[in-house]
Symmetry: C2
Subunit: 281 residues, 2 copies
């Protein structure tokens, strides 16, 4: 029986706990900062052990998973590092990886085995209430390849056991990729909503499935996204600049004296590229 | 029994025909330009009558629906106008309305009752093969309010009988609204795909449901969209300029010396606005 400690009972931490309980064979220990959250964990029955005492939760753990905001990780890491064994596997679920991997690798160096993770599961809904055992089924989890070796294998196997497809990327390339396929789309979706609201809010009366889907991610929680976007701001600003330049290319083909062939080629190229993408599920 | 003539057996024309056949009580006549398409209509059994002779299809019709590309409508209108009665109801399914309403109202003035329509049903898939009787269920159809009176009532009732919610808008306001909620999102989705492809195509290996949904409409057929975007280019260029200016606002909050409170307020405002929208279905 493995002792798995999960720090933070949000959507991701709660869903990991529920899935581990469903799989069986583990001792699932879940830490929450607030006593009310511990009560909620117990009421929902999603852990074998729940406490506000983080040292108690991680003591003797084989695996520790940080499922708290990225900015809260270093302090929590310093608080628990003395309780871990040199072979304890430590990972996280943060949406940015370069800073997390640098900071947590330094704290755990020689005292535990840290490997970064980013399970890419939805986040319009948050909190333990939205958690579910099958959240990870068919999703992709990126595992950082900066610290190679046995720990990386174990962390990859852990996510696979929850139902994820695992892709390994260096932390810096992870951050560039998610800026492009997650952080930029979030800003674009929010900007679409703001553009319609500012230009002609009557248009919201005639929206269809296209607008619904194109803007869906804009309903994610603002405080979480402020943190994600700021942690990855260099890559996000580069992605925004590339996006603005490419929107201007479309504008050029449509302006008076536009170029229908160029417009066609841009649209057909985008369609062709998208139709080649393999989406999960 | 009403004689309903549908001109063009694409996704929309074919789906209208299938739904009318399912409802029963109508004589459904379907025109196609190509003999092979007429064969396909007969094989699929989606009309009581099918022909490449457009005058034969509309002769004696109570209702005529143009379901061909917007650019092909005026010539086809001139070809059939002599076959119609002064009380024949004529409408169309074009994605832009100001030019269509101006041109077709002039051709049919005093010779039939024209009212513009825009059923907002999906278009990643096209052609009769994708047609289905329930395509319009829960969707919105805009009916132009420029030509008021009895014909507008009848056209509205027609779309409601197919399952649409009807919204009436002046043709010019229609074009501004769809530029914002359909044409702009199409360009934005295509631009997102192009931005990732140009910046780091490895990112396509880790896309999730967010990127899938945000870019879904980019898989629509390029030739159709070239026509739609060019027909509505003035409103689309205005929407693109507004979008680019608002993306730059986000960039400002993220640049070095950014402003986390301003970033939060932009994101929270977009989320709040989107969460108020009533989406169909």
């Amino acid at each position: 029986m493995k002792h798995i400690a999960i720090l933070g009972p949000g959507l991701l931490g709660g869903s990991i706990a529920l899935k581990l309980r469903a799989l069986g064979g583990n001792h699932v220990a879940l830490w929450a900062r607030r006593a009310e959250a511990v009560e909620e964990i117990r009421a929902r029955g999603c852990a074998d052990e729940a406490s506000t005492d983080v040292r108690e939760i991680v003591r003797g753990a084989d695996v520790v998973i940080f499922s708290v905001p990225v900015g809260a990780m270093p302090a929590l890491a310093r608080e628990i590092v003395g309780e871990l064994r040199a072979d304890t596997i430590v990972t996280d679920v943060g949406s940015v990886k370069a800073t997390v991997v640098a900071e947590l690798s330094a704290i755990f160096a020689g005292r535990a085995q840290f490997v970064g993770s980013h399970p890419m599961a939805g986040c319009e809904f948050t909190g333990l209430k939205a958690a579910r055992a099958n959240l990870f089924e068919g999703t992709t989890c990126i595992v950082t390849s900066d610290n190679s070796g046995e720990a990386t294998e174990k962390v990859s196997a852990f996510w696979q056991s929850l139902g994820c497809r695992v892709v390994r990327l260096a932390a810096a390339e992870h951050d560039e990729c998610v800026a492009l396929i997650s952080h930029l789309p979030h800003l674009v979706a929010g900007t679409l909503v703001r553009t319609v609201a500012a230009s002609n809010p009557h248009a919201f009366n005639v929206v269809g499935p296209g607008f619904r889907d194109t803007t869906r991610v804009a309903s994610g929680p603002a405080p979480l996204w402020v943190e994600i976007l700021r942690e990855n701001s260099t890559a996000v600003v580069a992605a925004l600049d590339a996006m603005i330049a490419k929107l201007a290319e479309f504008r050029q083909t449509l302006a008076p004296q536009g170029d229908p062939q160029a417009l066609h080629d841009l649209l057909a190229g985008a369609k062709h590229t998208r139709d080649q993408i393999t989406f999960p599920k």
